[in-house]
Amino acid sequence: MAFSEHFDQLLEKPSPRVQKFLQLLQPLENHQLQRLAAESAALTRRHFGKTMRLFAPLYLSNECINSCAYCGFSRENPIVRLTLKPQEVLAEARHLFAQGFRNLLLVSGEHPRYVSNGYIEECVRLVAAEVPSVSIEVAPMETEQYRPIVSAGAEGLVVYQETYHRPTYQSLHTAGPKKDFLWRLDCPERGHAAGFRRIGIGALFGLYDWRFEAHALAVHLDYLLKTCWRSFLTVSLPRLRPAAGGFHPPAPMNDRDYVQLLCALRITFPTVGIVLSTRESAALRDLVAPLGITLMSAGSHTEPGGYTGQGRNCLHYTIRGKIQASANDAASATEQFEINDNRSPEIVANRLRQLGLDPVWKDWDPAILGIAYAA
């Protein structure tokens, strides 16, 4: 059994839980939205306490063979590219560790040559020896390919469907392995089978009608809660940001709708983690942090080498997956998208304290899995 086999039917005949969620997505008056937010905040405190977990993304590579209209790393884009060597990844990780992060998300584009067999695993092994919690956000794999990565110390897997609307998905993903909508849809289950403790899903808001994406996301969560019952699930609601390629979101979601969706998710799924990235502005992040968010990034860079300038001597231009020329004149690799909250981790942590939330840096110990830990 896999989600892809049931997706259409589950969308059409929502479970009682999803029906409740859809009710909460109906247009609301201001006072109704305020009540929703109060309930959402109270449920979050009850289940997660007055705490906020912090993490940082660490980009390994921006090489990519996929053609995705909205993504800065899309193979069509003539951008400055770089794949960090594992030791360079470790140097970036050490920098983030010094800033306080004990939870890192390793992110990479998809490329069979540069991001190839064993590379992710090696990066995970090096980083997990010094950082308590390591997750990955890389191209979907088979269960058997995930297992060595889990053994190397990866605790979490993040994979966003981008859009759950199949015609939109097909029109935006025109080339590369990512074209396969259904294979991506079943990725969280393959990750669960491989032993990831935390599984993150999400949709990229702005590509298609937000209420449809939210509905599908709730259907997916509802299914995964029953199927992947041993995994801690998180959900992300990233909104499209400006990036190389100049893609304009065809269906932007406004701040008010974003808040409503966040609160509706919290009320429907009180124990699921909700992630907030630096794609959002500092003002909005401060506003929604207490309402339902449980995991936040801070001070992020979305290009490989972005924290310490690692790999600067290997910058190059790649078009359609092939290296065209070196780019040593460039200052850094090209980012995936522009971040919106530029505050340092320390400033974000202090702001959280002002909001009455304890910033939690460490919430996992690899010793639980028997992984040698050197720090």
């Binding site: 009850r46 306490g49 919430d363």
Partner: protein, 265 residues
């Protein structure tokens, strides 16, 4: 007025309130709440602590718990099976924490309900290694007896799921556990108000463990003190001999006087 001490593994405690350290708005709020609760046993999730011995300033929860004042009870939250829980207990002991462990194995991250099979397995191993084991369990009387038989120091049945604040939803099962136990019974999880804590103690539970209700209160220090008072009052009432409950009103004095008069004649 003193109440009887709580005795776990031959160690005496005056307080029958154990407090958990998660979910507070700051380590300082946690420290002050512990003090106000009058507790002597404090649980700490090992995954949030620094066990490397390098004094990680970003994982310094243990720096805020005075080991002279409190018995630090490491909990194995995060472990999904017996192997992982045993490993965590070893790690805590190696880091210099007491050889006491709150055994907590919940493979389900949503309701955090304990796995009875893995818990029994881990308890057997840890008891045989000399640990004082306090297992967190569902309110299952047979499991409680099985754990007692293999040498658990207490059992810690839940009142309702962790963080739910729903009180003693498992009341009938708790009664049986308490009635049958030869080791202390500590009601853990679901206690959302001082009245819930008092109810558990009045039922005959030896102690209660509270975390969410204190940590997430608007004023955690006052709430900690409120729990202290409730637990003390309930224990005193329990020892004083709570009257049995009846369906009927019982007009004691006039009738008793009349009957006594009859007997005297």
């Amino acid at each position: 007025m003193q109440t009887q001490p709580l005795i776990i593994a031959n160690r005496h405690f005056h307080s029958r309130l154990l407090v958990g350290t998660g979910k507070f708005s700051s380590n300082e709020a946690m420290r002050d709440s512990l003090l106000a609760s009058g507790c002597e046993i404090v649980t700490v999730a090992l995954r949030r602590a620094d066990l490397s011995g390098k004094k990680d300033p970003y994982a310094n929860i243990l720096d805020f718990i005075d080991p002279q004042r409190y018995l630090i009870l490491p909990n194995t939250s995060g472990a999904m099976n017996a192997t992982e829980a045993v490993r965590l207990a070893h790690l805590a002991a190696a880091a210099g924490l007491p050889k006491w462990v709150k055994l907590e194995i919940h493979p389900d991250p949503n309701y955090l309900l304990p796995d009875p099979i893995e818990t029994l397995r881990a308890a057997e191993t840890l008891v045989s290694e000399g640990f004082v084991v306090l297992p967190y369990i569902n309110a299952d009387p047979v499991l409680a007896k099985r754990l007692e038989e293999i040498g658990a120091a207490t059992v810690m049945p839940l009142g309702s799921p962790i963080g739910s604040n729903r009180g003693l939803q498992t009341r009938d099962q708790l009664r049986i556990i308490i009635e049958q136990a030869n080791i202390p019974v500590i009601v853990d999880a679901g206690i959302g108000a001082p009245s819930h804590a008092a109810e558990a103690i009045e039922l005959g539970a030896d102690a209660v463990l509270v975390n969410t209700a204190i940590a997430t209160a608007a004023d955690p220090i006052r709430m900690a003190h409120a729990f202290r008072l409730a637990v003390e009052a309930a224990r005193m009432a329990y020892e004083a001999g709570l009257p049995t409950q009846s369906q009927f009103a019982s007009p004691t004095s006039p009738l008793a006087t009349f009957l006594n008069t009859l007997q005297a004649n």
